[in-house]
Point group: C2
């Protein structure tokens, strides 16, 4: 077997065989659930798992239940060979010579493996078990995509049960997802630790995203204002004791607007870190999550009509 | 420790400590989830578990989410001492002298342990994770109690995750519950076996139920017609090749009516064993579930006004 060979497991039954082997030897398993088309964000999760566990399993499954009818389920990029290559090259470059640092398996199931009752995009036609996380699924991104988090919760519950990892890794970039899934794991009494890995940023602080590829060099340099604006607000909160959300929101908004008047804020929001309730004042004993979405033009050309929606967030830790 | 001492575990954390001990030794665990007030039906489940597993855990938890507002959540009988005594006496009588046959623990959690996001009877106020099993939760008992199976699925998912049994035991008496939970375990890819234990009946075939205590001796003797009528229909299906559901339904109905004209059939229904879809013809390759509910007067006295609702069911196995 060459270094390039990562076993591809396609059935839950085969995954369990592997998992039971590890369990009998009391070995820990890190798990990274993905929809494939892996980029540096995923690699930072894989890296964390490799550093902390005896074994690492990555799943690649484009989950139909988190897409709404009319969304891009059919055109979502799928390229297993590319993903295997990305993982293999990353592990070789990062852990060269250390033969025990490897991704032990890629779990790449069919829709029917994951949805034994079958799956329909039409909600009234759906059959079988679904998991909903009431409350935290509803604000922010849940407002515009009402069944998105139901799909995410359902598929992650299935993947966690099938893989039974010691630790599962998620990126802070999708912060509402991390809150929804932490609530799910806590409420369903799952015996699994979730680890949230900080957002990967470039040297200017821009959060990595495949959508950054749409942006011209000037815009790419300008959108670093997003991270800077959140840092400015964080400084006001942690050093100057500002607690008022409209004050902090204006700080973020002003810095973005002053960079480029064509940057259009979709939302800037401060929410309770556990319940995601919208805040008007930050309780310094609890802290807050600042999250935002901004539409930016793809270039600075005066006739540019295309825009890209960027999201980012920052955790305002308790300071009291 | 005397034989009467069954450890009572009240937190998920303590349950996990015990469970991890067993896991490290690769020992099997049988689990019987109950709402307490144990009777012979529960004891038959405990008996099965004791015969087949290294360890047996019983949970006693009156689950609020399966009650509708206005139902008997507050008055539901709770008597932990009674339950411990019932288990202890049963095990002593059944397995006297065999010291390894014992219930290892009773898991008796608080509502907050089971619902870490808190629990509200008001659906719009509910927060946190809930499990729904679409399709099979909807017909039969689900028609009259629309959120009952959502509550059952949710609490059983939690209990299975907290206990992580090798096998969990459920009674066939609540047959729709067994179909809903089998679908849930399959769909959520839980690595747990569900075993369905046949309904416990008296020597005349009457299914044991605490509600039988409401019935006078004459009625008690007459209601044995329920089991007989199902057997008659099963004979027509398996021996005479009858597949027509209205024919089989009339067989059951006629035998019940002819026994006592005051027995009022609530429903007699034949459903697909997997999907619980209502059938008009039985496919002998798939079989069917016959289930019924009948209101019977509590006595034969002419001025009797009180009635009791009895339920029962029979699995019509595939015969082709």
């Amino acid at each position: 077997m060459t270094m390039a060979d990562i076993p591809i497991i396609t059935t839950v039954a085969d995954l369990r065989v592997l998992r039971h082997q590890y369990a009998r030897r009391n070995e820990s398993v890190g798990f990274i659930p993905t929809m494939g088309y892996l980029h540096e964000g995923h690699l930072s999760l894989i890296n964390q798992s490799l550093l902390s566990n005896d074994h690492t399993i990555v799943s690649i499954f484009v989950n139909p239940s988190q897409f709404a009818p009319g969304e891009d389920l059919d055109t979502y990029p799928r390229d297993l060979d590319h993903d295997v290559k990305v993982i293999t090259e990353f592990v070789a470059a990062k852990f060269q010579g250390s033969s025990d640092k490897k991704v032990d398996a890629i779990f790449h199931p069919t829709v029917l493996q994951m949805y034994p009752s079958g799956f329909s995009m039409e909600r009234s036609q759906q059959r079988g078990a679904f998991v909903e996380v009431l409350g935290v699924s509803e604000p922010l991104e849940g407002k515009t995509r009402p069944s998105f988090f139901r799909g995410v919760s359902t598929v992650v519950a299935k993947l966690l049960n099938a893989t039974n990892p010691t630790v599962a890794y998620f990126g802070q970039k999708d912060i509402q997802q991390t809150v929804v899934l932490k609530t799910m794991v806590r409420d369903l009494l799952m015996d699994i630790e979730l680890e949230i890995v900080p957002t990967v940023r470039n040297s200017s602080g821009l959060a990595l995203s495949s959508r950054n590829a749409y942006l011209s060099p000037e815009i790419l340099s300008q959108v670093t204002c997003i991270f800077r604006s959140m840092n400015t607000a964080y400084g006001k909160y942690s050093k100057s004791g500002v607690r008022d959300v409209s004050d902090l929101t204006e700080t973020v908004s002003a810095e973005i607007r002053s960079t480029n008047a064509n940057f259009k804020v979709d939302y800037i929001s401060f929410n309770d870190p556990e319940t995601l309730d919208y805040l008007t004042t930050i309780d310094p004993k609890k802290g807050a999550i600042l999250s935002l979405a901004v539409y930016v033009p793809n270039s600075t050309e005066t006739n540019e009509t295309k825009t890209t929606r960027l999201i980012d967030n920052m955790i305002f830790n308790p300071v009291a």
